[in-house]
Symmetry: D3
Subunit: 320 residues, 6 copies
């Protein structure tokens, strides 16, 4: 069943999200602080039993210098420098096993697959802590630290993502002029932010991205994780304005207005988790050139492997 | 539908939980550290619009000196010292509004209602942060910090509870010789721990308590929050032994063996959330005298208001 | 997820409910008959173990002289006469235990908490029979006696409510010039009717009220209890007009047109049980001054304790 | 999935239900009173547009002389007297339309299809009121009047059933020596009672019957309507013994011990609504000769049309 | 809850379904081929134990000469020729037992109840194979053979239906000038097609018909079986246009434009399985005179027995 | 929650499945017939955009010479012959995109990933038709053709699997002395059969396999696809013995008794889809050496990527 706008109404949808006055300063300071606290990257080869792909365990420093893990995969013995995809992971998942997620390296890219702090226990395992505590929050990650942008979990995660791009650019196997970001759902939302915040990103492919027009999403879907906002505010009834203000610092629509590189979005008309109008809001606000794949009969799985293949083609075309 | 053992099988059930060798040391050190880091209690009167009850906003220091909130309620203008109930809250809830939970003070007790760190966003609001970060965990609180007892969320919460009893004993309105602990579900599990760890507790009434024989519970129920353990271990497949070891430091059965004061338990035969055999395991292991109310046709609501009334009668009888 | 109208559309919504020509006569006769059959009120003190509140078991006569139970609670030893809240209960519940629902008396009001005939077995216990039989009906109360207004269950319940106000006005502890009605959900719908039908009511605070624009509600929500209407009519296919006519005698919108005292309503935008437009229909039709609290991220729990606190403030301000 | 006992354990299962000392007296008096209050049967031909079957609208008097409706169907123009099936209906249903339930008359029987008082609004329509009120009860029929056997809804329904057999025996089309009772689920439970209480019944075919070993059923299934007992007792916690005593007056196992005519039972191993062991309990206690059809892969639909066909063959064989 | 359009919007709804250019040719050829492959009908009397109705087991040849089963029922010993109803069955069901579905014959019609190839295993048993294989498809029947109209399951089923009318016209008991088609849900959709494709059909009564404006239905409901289309296309992402083209060969709206006999439709406003607008689309496109019964408070059960009675009255009036 | 046996009871569980007398003949004939009808394999290179892996589209002939598709993947430019894994797919899925399932080739194996006839439309796409029709069946594949072993869908699928091993052995990249079979769920059940029926298989790793002790499974779980058996038999009540006989020709326990190569099984204690005792039944009956990985806190996902890694290690060790 279609869950949201379709046809022309979808293609033309714009949303007027709250934009904090100090949005750019806030992010500039946050990232500056993370870079100032940075420690050297650690890269260790992993014996994953793979003949065609080399896998490395990467530890870099993200928000406030806190350690973040990633897998780096590349075609075995490939000659550097390679076009590179930095990928962010969907809600609840972690970087998994070295033997998983072989597509990008098999396709000839260097692939930095960033772990998600604190997550990695719902559907694929993670190895990165979120060493920062939180005020009262609904179980889940969207309301963690929601009392201010300074304490917001997603500010830390997005900062990690920016630092992952920094890290990629330093790796010998990576061609720093050919870095793209990719992600599905939460990973897509984080990719939008990274593409907006980091000049080193040359292309982006957010698939069915989360974190776009969050205020609208909280009103039009009952599905988690957007529903965490309503669950939290159902109890913290006097926190509505403050919470919506906090969330406005991580909204994909506001990031999109500041993103100039080519982007390929995807959205699915039967998606109840990331309603297509919220994705269209980000895509339609994007400052650079965009494509939008609309999956008419899909839910949140969107284009699945086809989204990845089309993103690969898009990156091959764009990263030149 | 009965969810577990009934009749004699229930009354005689014993379980052989893992008991860490350093259980007593671990807790002695943890509590010593918290007390060493303690700051003075802050008590402020709250204007709640109540004629018959005085309400105070209490801030004390719990685990590692971290601030914890509570409401103190007492009959308006009552002459100190009063028999006192320290109550811990069920999973997901917080201390709520000053105008809620008026039973114990109306019944003539001083009532210290401790907020639950980090929670308080699912069904009643909380005001206490959990300022400690965590490794990868399943959304929820049972797997937070589960990689070691040192980092385990529930170690912090139980330490807060011990400190809440310390705090109660210092309050002028409280008769330090007549302090009891009470709690439902998670609150009951925490009450068991507090009664075991703190000599100042003179009676306990855990109602349908959580956190008892956690390993068994994780195998016999699909209901949350016990199910968080299985969800986490489904992803962290190599963590089984380590996780079960961590959890053994907070198991109510092990605390029960060390608890000598009179206790009134309740369990419900149709409870899928805290299966009655896990509660019987704690009750049957309890070192002091016990009573057990079995609610034959109830689920996790157990005896509801009757459990509270019977606990009050039990405390009146015991705290003398 | 928002379940219904929002924003201006909600605030301006009006509905043209069916209004029976003999609506006023019908109710005048029904109430006259109940008063004619009235027997003296019986009030007995209850030993509830409460230090700060006196509780009395009240038996008065409602519809056709049938006995109805209530708890009367007041601050222990308070000097009469007190401002008074007559409260009606949500669907399925009964007056519960003497030890429950202590807010209003703790806040300094006399509180008459009327039992709901025949109910009181779903979430809190009741002690009042509905001694009147019924034709075929869907399990539940909304279709009981639905073949005519004369036999309709809710006519009996509303008549009980009017008689509860009569009763309150006679009690020595009550100031008959300062009586307000309060209720949540079904209790809110009954409170609207009582405020409309009884001149002794000086203020009303229906929270997320049921029984408003029932015909509309039956079409726009799948949630019970409104859904009982559709379930019944799905089987009694030829009964549509007759049933909608019966229900028009208890519709809150029609009562609202006849209610002149100040009222504070609440509605919740994510409420699927009592959709906010049906509540706005009653509020917008109300003949007296009104306030409307809109809970943006709440479901049927609405404002919860905050609704009660704000109603108390509203009553303190209004009942002068 | 098998929901209960299977194989030998099922075939040999016996249950020790509570048997009230005054069970026989209670029923003798109840039925005597109903017969004393009886009014003449009214039979009116109905124009149902059927060529092969005559349908009559029958009104007889049941419990306490209260009117009960039924459809009488017989092969068009059949020569009296006919073997006759008196059928009772499943939970929630009513006698439906004259054009429904044509099997028994098409098969050559006179068929008296008794309406169920108060029901007939969930899946097929009814036309019979239950003119007796009730104390607090859970929505539904199993807890209506549950405070005593005298007020119990099912005592009225079973008395109606006995009176339906009285009525059948008086009808000219019926051969009073060849009357059988039939029913599915609730109808089966009522058929057991009627066969036990009325000497005019010569055979019985209860299919997946309800109302057998109710106390056991309330503990081993979560499905409605048995679950109404637990829902009621979850709130009326002090009513357990009284409620189980009331229900013991209508238990099919106790009726079965007093039933001497041949009976064909059916039970289904995947039935969660009427667990097979409760049916086996009644069948194994039956005083007369019995057959038991076990449907291995069916739920509560049991044998469906095959149960009816086999019951017809059983009746043809038995009613001679 | 209303699931779709209501009121005037429903009555005036038209939809522009895809209409293949070769629609008429396609069907002419398909039916010609089936008739060319036809074998003689086999009719055998069945001993069903029914006194008032004769039942015959009919085997005729449908699509491509493949055998199809049916029950023929007629009033016992009725004088030919009779007005006749050819009925098609709802999704998942089969022709059931000889003893079921007695209404039409009891009402004086000859009744040919066609089995549904391959189905007959979900809620009533069938005896007819679908001897044609299929490409990859979602479990269920709507996507079977969906890669082309030639391979589409429903083309076979509709062809069977046309052949069932051929067959009826040959049976001695049938008056070939008084043949009507009837069906509920899938049976209604097939009845529309048969009435459109076969000149021998003189009246049609599709109740809550399936297979109308399938493309719209796939977008506006989540309920099965329409949802099979979305489930299939979610995986076969590149098949959208091809699949919608295949389905356009069996769309009831396109058949309706070619149907000239009187028709009585029914639709239900709370039907999520066959949304009322899709039915209105077919009815509003119907070339002949129509009636439309709207069941305001029903789901997919629609008018149930009343739909059948009204269809019988409609047929008696029309078949003259 | 544990769904079945645990601990020693699981490790020692044996089941006495029905074993048809002509089991071996039946399979010998079926496979001989398929080989007799075989056509040459077609292998075409696919441009999948992968740098490290070569992908080929393979079409071979399976049951009765019908075409079956597969993907052959191998490390790009690897020197033949390679150890080879023939993999079968889980229920509902198809061979997917060339870019998916890269693990085995990345790990240095040749990987023949056989499409599943008729499936491939629920969670990953397939390209292989099942050109054989079926009698009445429940939507799904387990009851397709269930009226006899000759017509049974799974006989065709297993024959395809045997032919896939034939095919692998002919491919130049494959070392015919080092062929293993692998599969998860349905794929695991098919792998058991292939290892039993084909002498060319040198090792097997069935993960949480389906199709083992089907009769037991149908009684102890409600989960699909085993539940299809009960759904079918609930309607085809007289088919129980025949259906269980048909299914006995494809039971993994009977295949296991005839399988002599080393095998690594996995089972999960919280698996409701393939209950662990049914898997233990096959493993404990296996004629060759076995290992069993038990995933204590997993459901049907079992060991996920770890199962694959451990199977790879097992194959490396075994295929020498």
């Amino acid at each position: 069943m279609y869950t949201d706008l379709t046809g022309e109404a979808l293609l033309e949808f714009t949303s007027a999200v709250r934009e904090p006055e100090d949005f750019d300063e806030f992010w500039a300071e946050t990232i500056t602080r993370a870079r100032a606290a940075a420690a050297p990257v650690v890269v260790e080869r992993v014996g994953a039993g793979l003949a065609t792909i080399d896998v490395f365990d990467v530890t870099f420093t993200g928000f406030d210098g806190q350690p973040v893990r990633a897998w780096l995969r590349a075609p075995a013995g490939a000659a550097a420098p390679l076009p590179t995809v930095v990928e962010f992971i969907g809600y609840g998942g972690g970087r998994g096993r070295p033997t998983e997620n072989l597509y990008w390296a098999s396709a000839g890219f260097a692939h930095l697959y960033m772990d998600t702090r604190g997550q990695g226990s719902s559907w694929s395992r993670g190895d990165t802590a979120d060493p920062v505590g939180a005020g009262p929050h609904y179980p889940g990650f969207l309301t963690r630290g929601i009392e201010s942008p300074e304490s917001l979990y997603y500010v830390r995660l997005i900062t990690d993502a920016v630092r992952a791009v920094d890290t990629a650019a330093e790796l010998p196997i990576v061609d720093p002029e050919r870095i793209a970001v990719f992600g599905i759902s939460q990973g897509g939302g984080v990719a939008i932010a990274a593409a907006s915040l980091h000049e080193g990103v040359k292309a982006a492919a957010p698939c069915v991205p989360f974190l776009c027009d969050i205020e609208r999403a909280a009103g039009i879907t009952d599905a988690y994780p957007y529903r965490e906002v309503a669950d939290y505010l159902a109890v913290h009834r006097d926190g509505v304005e403050n919470v919506l203000r906090s969330l406005s610092y991580i909204d994909g629509v506001t990031f999109a207005k500041r993103a100039a590189v080519p982007a390929r979005f995807s959205a699915a008309l039967m998606d109840a988790i990331c309603p297509p109008s919220t994705i269209a809001a980000a895509r339609n606000a994007w400052a650079g050139p965009t494509e939008l794949a609309i999956w008419r009969f899909n839910g949140h799985e969107g284009g699945g492997p086809v989204d990845a293949e089309e993103a690969a083609a898009f990156f091959r075309h764009t990263l030149t």
